[in-house]
Symmetry: none
Subunit: 212 residues, 4 copies
Amino acid sequence: MTDSSPPRRQRRKEARPGEIVAAALAIFQTKGFAASKIEDVAHAAGVTKGTVYLYFSSKEELFKAAIRETVLPNLDRISDAAMAESTARARLHTAIHLWAAGMDNCRGSISKLMIAEAGNFPELAEFYREEVIGRVRRMLIGIIEAGIAQGEFRPCDPATVTRALCAPVLLSNIFRHTFGNPYENQSDLAKLADSLLDIVLNGIALNLEVSR
Amino acid sequence: MTDSSPPRRQRRKEARPGEIVAAALAIFQTKGFAASKIEDVAHAAGVTKGTVYLYFSSKEELFKAAIRETVLPNLDRISDAAMAESTARARLHTAIHLWAAGMDNCRGSISKLMIAEAGNFPELAEFYREEVIGRVRRMLIGIIEAGIAQGEFRPCDPATVTRALCAPVLLSNIFRHTFGNPYENQSDLAKLADSLLDIVLNGIALNLEVSR
Amino acid sequence: MTDSSPPRRQRRKEARPGEIVAAALAIFQTKGFAASKIEDVAHAAGVTKGTVYLYFSSKEELFKAAIRETVLPNLDRISDAAMAESTARARLHTAIHLWAAGMDNCRGSISKLMIAEAGNFPELAEFYREEVIGRVRRMLIGIIEAGIAQGEFRPCDPATVTRALCAPVLLSNIFRHTFGNPYENQSDLAKLADSLLDIVLNGIALNLEVSR
Amino acid sequence: MTDSSPPRRQRRKEARPGEIVAAALAIFQTKGFAASKIEDVAHAAGVTKGTVYLYFSSKEELFKAAIRETVLPNLDRISDAAMAESTARARLHTAIHLWAAGMDNCRGSISKLMIAEAGNFPELAEFYREEVIGRVRRMLIGIIEAGIAQGEFRPCDPATVTRALCAPVLLSNIFRHTFGNPYENQSDLAKLADSLLDIVLNGIALNLEVSR
DNA sequence: AATGAATGAGGGTTCATTCAT
DNA sequence: TATGAATGAACCCTCATTCAT
C-alpha cells in the first residue's frame, strides 16, 4: 500500500491508528455507520477487533477520527492556490477545480457520509458544517464579492453563485457513490466544473432581456 | 399519557397503514433506516410494534412503502403544468418552481434518505434513480433542448444546465434537513430557484469574452 | 365434509367445538404443538382465531381436548370383538387387526404426537400411558396368559410377546407419518400384522434347538 | 452461583463446541426442538447465548451438529462386529445387542427427537432416514437373507423380521424417554433383545400347524 | 356468537464491547 | 501490544391472547 515503506514489522506501531482510520473511512463511506461492523474495519486494516479498541474507545470515536483526519488537510492548499491568481475569474476557476479534484481522489464521498449520519452525530455535523462547508463557502463568496467590487462580475448574490457552482459538483460526486457510475456519464468532475463556470459566468440566454 | 389520551385498542383498519407509513417516513428521514427502531415508528404512529407487522411484513417492506407512496404522485402534475407554458424559459421556470415547492412541503428530504440508504437497498436505489431522478432530469433536458432548437438558448449541454438548476435546490433542501435550518438562511427554495434561473440564464460576467 | 348434514348456518352452533378439535388434531399431528399456530387451526376449522378462544381457554386446553376426544372411543370395541373369539390365537388376531385398522384410518399418528409432546404435558402423558397404552397392553397380555394356561402357547413372557406384535405396527405407522410413505413399502398395516403373527407364533428357525 | 463457581470468561476454544453440542442434545431431547431456547442450551453448557452463535450459525445448524456427532460413529462398529460372527443366528444376536446397547448408553433418544421434529426439518429427516435407519435395516436384512439361503432360517420376509426384532427395542427406548422409566419395568434393553430373539426364532405356538 | 385489529411478552440473532491470555 | 473468545444488551419478528365492535 505504501511503496518504499520499511518492513511491515517495524513500521506497524506508529502506523496502526492511521491504517485503522483509513480502513474505517472506507467502510463507513461504503456501508454507512450503523451497517459497518468493527470487525470489518479491523479486517480491512489487517488487525483484529481488539486492536481497534486499543486506539479508539468506541465506534463513535473511530467515526469522528475518520471524519476529522480526512477532511481538513486540503482546504488550506486550495485557498492558497486560489489567492495566488490575479483575477476573480481565475481564482474561481482554480478554487473550484482543486476542490473538485480533491473529491475525485477519494474512494467515497465524505459529504454523503455526513448527510447520512448527521442526525446521529450532532456535534460532528456542527463541526463539519462550520469547519468544512462554511470554510469553502466563505472562500468562494469572498472571491465573488471581490469580483463584483472590481467590476468583473455584475451585482448578484454571491451565496447563490457559490451554490450554483458547488452544488452540481458535490451532488454529482454524491450520486456517483450512491447510485453508481453509470448514471454519471460525465465521469470526471473537472469537466463538469468547466461547463458550470461557463454557464454561470456567461448564462445561456441569447436575448438580452433579463429572464422573468 | 394520563389525562386525555385517546382510547387504546382503537380499530382503524383503513387509516392505520397510512399513519404508519407517515410515521415511518418521518423516523427514517430523521435517523436513517438502520438506526430507526420499529418500536419508535409504532410509537410515533400511536400503535405498538405488533401492529406494524400487521400491515407490513418487514422493516424493509415498510421502508419501501414509505418511499413509494411519497415520491411519485407529484411528478405528473409538474410535467403537465410545465408543458402548458409557451416558451422554454417559462417552462423551465414553472417546472423548477413546482419541483422546489414539492420539496418544501415535505417534512424531511427523501433524497437525503435515499442517499443515505441506497447502499443497503440496491433495488430501491435503482427504482428511485430511474423513476424519480431520471424522470425529472429527462423532462428538464427536453425543455432545454427545445429552447436551443428554437433559438431561445445558446448551444450548451442540457444535462449540465439541468444540474446547475437542480443541484443547488436539491442540496439546499438536503442540507436544511441535515444540518438544520440555521445554515440555510434563504429558507424558501422558491427564492433560490429564481436566483438560479437568473444566473443560469444571464450569467454573471460583465464583459463579453467567454471565461477561460 | 359431512354428507347429509343440515345447511351450514343451522348446524354451526353445536358442531363448532368438534370441528375445531378435529382441525386442531390434524394440525398438531402434522406440525407438532409448538409449531402449530392457533390461526392455522382456526382457518382449517373455517372460523377465526377469536372463535377458538370462545370454546377453549388456551392452546394447551385445545391440545388436551384434541387428544382426549380422539383416543378412547375405539378401545372398547376392540376388546369386545376380541373376547368374542374362542381361541387365544383368534383373539390375538382380531385384537391386533382391529387396532391396526384404527390407526390406518387416522390422518396422522396420535402416538407420534404424544411422543413428541409428552415432555411438555406430563399429566397428559400420564393419562395416555395409563388409559391408552396400558389398556391395550393389558388386554393383549391377558389373552396371551390365557393362551399359555390353556396350552395354546408355550411358556413365554406375555409382555414381550405383546411388544413383538404391537411395536412394529405402531412404529410403522409413526414412521409413515414421520418420514413419508415411500419408506413404508408395506403400506397397509393389516399385512404387516399378519406377517408378525406368523413370525411370532411359528418362529423363523428351522432346526429344533432353542436358540442361544 | 456464589461460592466455588468456575471463573467466567474462560477461553476454551477446543472444548466449547463439543460441550455446546452435548448440552444441545440433552435439551433438545428433553424438550423438543421448538420448545428449547438457545439460552437454555447455553446455560447448560456453561456459556451465554452469544457464545453459541460463535460456533453454530443458527439453532438449526446446532441441531444438525447434535444429531450428526452422536449418531453415526457407532454404526460401523456394530456392522463390523456382526460380520465377524460365523452363523446368521450369531450375527443377528451380536448386531441387535450392540445396537440396543448403543441406545442404552445415551441420555435420551435420538429417534424420539427425530420423530418429533422431522416435520419441521425435512432435509434432516431425510438424512436420518437414509443414513441411520436405512443403514441398520439393510444390515439386518442382509444377515437374514443369507440365513435363509444357507438353510438356517425358513423362508420369510426379512424386512418384517427386522421390524419384529428392532421395533420393540426402539419403541421401548422411546417410551422410556417419553413416559418415564417406571413404565418400562424391563429396564435394560439387552434382556428385551434376548427375549425377542427367542420369540422370533422359535415362535410361541406349541402345535405344529401354521397359524391362521 | 363471532370477528379480527391490536397487543406485548418472548425468542432468535447480531454485534459493540470487554478481558484473560 | 495484540488477540479473539466471551459477553449481553438490543433489535427484529412471531404469535398466543385480548377486547371493542
